[in-house]
Symmetry: C2
Subunit: 397 residues, 2 copies
């Protein structure tokens, strides 16, 4: 089955926007919501967009505007609303008949979660419980949750499969919120018949849509390797910090399982289709990873090779809690969903770079790329026009 | 230090009301809130009680009305409000200067939590996070949390001390909410200086204030041994179900650590006093138990001996998930709080029975005690007047 109306939270975000693209491409209708706390909205009005006399939602965030352009199909509607705003979300459910919900909306910065844990518990756990309650009231019982390999804590064996214990040694509130929500979902699916719930445990999503029109657009200093690396390559930052080279791995740097964002997005659509087709019952969990690990240096080298960009880096101290290596056993997704990651590390690097070089300041319209002391490291502005000037709305494939 | 204004949530409940009694007796001022979902309110008005021109709160639930009578001191104010009602609670914080918060408000039925887990996660976890956020905004950072030995899951060793792992094998949503909240508290105390947080892990609270004026008043079928046993003795129910006699214990019935409710209440006041006196920092956890176990049959026999009442029982199948035995290591509370349980099993039984026999229908005004088929088991109506008639407001010590 391809078709049906899907309610997508956090639709404007990195994973959300790529998933919306895949959903639209696969014939689903999408009603998206996002509080746009990290989004760029190129709007002049703050109110609802009206279609004749009918309210159809808010202006699109830039990421979703581009998704519509790429696919040549429109979202059914989009609302700028927080998932904790129960009344508004309830209204959206009343006005639509949803076949399923895909839930991406969450705060997601590990470091920040240690500083403001209450906000993480409120938004992530509280927000999800509110959303589930709304679904229950409105008779929508198919739910796909954006979970994370972080629920596994420190790996007791590798590759890590879905039977690995969860919730032990989760070292930060962000990770705990993912674990807590999984427990809520499990309990909910047991408590009442008719729920189909899938928890998709992401490993390390990287890359961008091949067009380079949408991609990861972190606010402030990126927390993850690939966007940081891209910002170094594009000279927004002088060099990449490599946190430790004394891990027990081939080259001493940490090994992780990187998965291309479009493989990940496809994983959601495949899960949704199977869930609807086979009318799943209960709680189902799948690792979404490539099923193999790459070290930080592997990624840097692959990036340099596939893009021609140079990435200066410095080895610095390990971060507290970082583990040697982690990668997924993806057999279950392969068997049950007939899904596996298809895009390569080279693709991840090339597409990340395409996105970053076409959009050095992400979705922000930006006249001038600030020159940091990165230039003192001698790298060139590979891949972007030489004058450091870039306008977002003007870029073309 | 004895003194200070304490905000108590779930003030009208079993543990809450006994704790409010101890707080008042020890010189603290109390502002209580309760959503009264389980409480009896003997009021004619639904609005705020006014004291001259000043709003002072809502009419007292019966349990707290009696607390005031027993102690001869009034609460500062009481509000019938749910802790999830952020705006109202915020207003109460704005109108008062609290030295600390003791948080009892929670849904607490294990079985029900399996049926409606979302309500448990919303009220217990969501409610607590909301409350903590309100405290944070209002600069109140001393917090005592009503936790439970259930966070330990299946005991890996006995007696169980505070270092025992938590959150593993929590078999029901109720227990998980307690565990999740403890994790929130831990993360919060690490994230920001100035928080003093105590998590008090109750074992099995039983008994009542020695006056028999206040006690445990479960709605519907009691989930716990002692109230069920009392309702059998008072002939509200025909017999007691003893769930399994093939546990690995002396007499085959499950062994638990029962703690007298007044010892438990005192434990809160002692914790509060130390917290304020010593200006604790961070997160502190204490077991509150008697430090020894009794079997179900031990309790039945002690009850019959100390009260003269007869308790017919039947051995029935074990309940899923029930463990052989569990009791607390209470050394830490003894060392750090100079607290230990002082009242005996005999006291627990005698006071429970005094409460139950004076108030066979709990706090409800009830003309006639319904006669169940219990009489066919031949037990007498020990301890209550022979005609089965009892009026709540007329009873005296």
């Amino acid at each position: 089955m391809t078709g049906g109306v899907v309610f997508v939270t956090g639709a404007a975000g990195y994973v959300g926007s790529h998933c919306v693209l895949e959903l639209l491409k696969s014939g689903y209708d999408v009603v998206g919501v996002d509080n746009c706390s990290n989004a760029v909205i190129d709007d002049e009005t703050n109110g609802l967009v009206t279609n004749g006399n009918k309210q159809t939602g808010h202006p699109l965030p830039e990421s979703l505007r581009r998704v519509e352009q790429i696919v040549g199909k429109k979202l059914k509607s989009f609302y700028k609303v927080d998932i904790c705003d129960e009344k508004t979300i309830d209204g959206i459910f009343a006005a639509n008949k949803f076949d399923a919900v895909i839930h991406f909306a969450a705060l997601k910065a590990v470091g920040e979660s240690c500083q403001i844990p209450l906000a993480y518990y409120r938004n992530n756990v509280g927000g999800t419980v509110t959303l589930l309650d709304i679904m229950k009231r409105n008779g929508v019982k198919k739910f796909i949750f954006s979970s994370s390999a972080t629920v596994y804590g420190t790996a007791e064996y590798l590759p890590i499969d879905e039977k690995h214990p969860t919730g032990r040694n989760c070292t930060n509130p962000y990770g705990k919120t993912k674990y807590f929500i999984e427990e809520v979902l499990k309990d909910l699916s047991v408590s009442e018949k008719g729920w189909s719930i899938a928890s998709l445990r992401y490993f390390n999503p990287v890359g961008a849509h091949e067009s380079g029109e949408i991609g990861e657009d972190p606010q402030g200093v990126p927390n993850n390797l690939m966007p940081y690396l891209c910002q170094v390559a594009v000279q927004r930052r002088p060099y990449l910090n490599v946190f430790g080279n004394d891990f027990k791995t081939t080259d001493g740097t940490g090994v992780r399982d990187y998965i291309h964002i479009m493989d990940l997005a496809r994983g959601h659509v495949v899960t949704l289709s199977k869930m609807l087709e086979q009318n799943w019952n209960g709680w189902h969990v799948f690792n979404l990873g490539a099923g193999r690990g790459y070290s930080v240096l592997d990624v840097i080298h692959a990036f340099e090779e596939s893009t021609g960009a140079r990435v200066p880096y410095k080895i610095v101290d390990r971060r507290l809690g970082d583990i040697d290596e982690l990668w997924a056993d993806v057999q279950k997704a392969n068997d049950k969903l007939n899904w596996k990651a298809e895009l390569t590390l080279k693709d991840m690097c090339a597409h990340s770079w395409k996105w970053q070089s076409k959009n050095p300041m992400g979705y922000q319209t930006c006249e001038v790329i600030p020159k940091k002391n990165g230039t003192s490291n001698g790298q060139s502005t590979n891949g972007i026009n030489g004058n450091g000037i870039k306008t977002l709305n003007g870029n073309k494939n």
